[in-house]
């Protein structure tokens, strides 16, 4: 930035903020905490190297993800982001099990509704309706991970303002 006010990085590092400062576009002076936390976890020179190795249009997202990781590491000095991933995988696993139970319940209700005449005789050789509609197998493939850190806000936290390129 140079000119009037140095960016948050140059303020913290106590150096002159040049007009081609690599940090300036991503660490404005009104949010000193953002750079402070990234510097604490990664170090300014490592962040600078990482940004220099990226094309300019990817640097903003890289900074956002570094800030996110740094925050996770400060919140949880042992597991950091990995703890968050473990927690979310557990959530996915539980939801998929609940979904499987709900779908099984739907099938049961549909089976009960099939023969709606008063005579309750059932031929034991008849294949049940259930086998015609296999439970979605992908719901049974998750392994639950240990839930080391609870982050209630993780499920709703928006990291990037756009869809990530997959």
């Amino acid at each position: 930035m140079g000119g009037n006010s140095p960016c948050a990085s140059c303020k913290l590092l106590r150096r002159r903020c040049t007009k081609d400062c690599i940090f300036a576009p991503y660490f404005p002076p009104d949010d000193p905490h953002k750079f402070a936390i990234v510097h604490k976890v990664f170090g300014a020179s490592n962040v600078s190297k990482m940004l220099q190795e990226l094309p300019v249009h990817q640097r903003a997202d890289a900074v956002s993800s570094l800030v996110y990781e740094a925050n996770a590491r400060v919140r949880d000095p042992v597991y950091g982001c990995v703890g968050a991933i473990s927690f979310l995988q557990n959530q996915v696993s539980q939801l998929q099990m609940q979904l499987a139970v709900a779908e099984a319940e739907i099938l049961c209700i549909q089976m009960q509704q099939e023969p709606m005449m008063p005579t309750p005789q059932i031929d034991p050789d008849d294949k049940p309706f259930l086998l015609q509609n296999n439970l979605p197998h992908q719901y049974l493939n998750f392994t639950s991970s240990s839930n080391n850190v609870i982050h209630d806000s993780l499920k709703r936290e928006t990291i990037f303002g756009h869809d990530m390129v997959s």
Partner: protein, 123 residues
Amino acid sequence: MSTSSRCAACRHLRRRCPSDCIFAPYFPANDPHRFACVHKIYGSSKVGNMLQDLPVELRAEAADAICIEAECRVQDPVYGCVRMISLLQQQIHNAESQLVKARAEIAVLGSHAQELRHHVQDI
């Protein structure tokens, strides 16, 4: 400690590996890539400080987590392991939507079943 038994970190840093080396228990010499990733992303002093700040019994897990994050960042320099978090959040959102729909369907089917039972009883 002789040069032949230096840990991966001290080998990478080209220094003597002291008997109380903070890295040695977590960065064995037979896996140089593990420390190389961590060094590239965090630097040795940051990692050393992170481990020093933790009780000994938690350092192994912390070292593993740091290595996973560093490896993810090396493979994906833009998003690192945060990409996985975004994907999982999306999966949770989708699963919750499906669960809401399934439960609504159960409620509808349940009320239809009740109506039909009453109808059959009336016959």
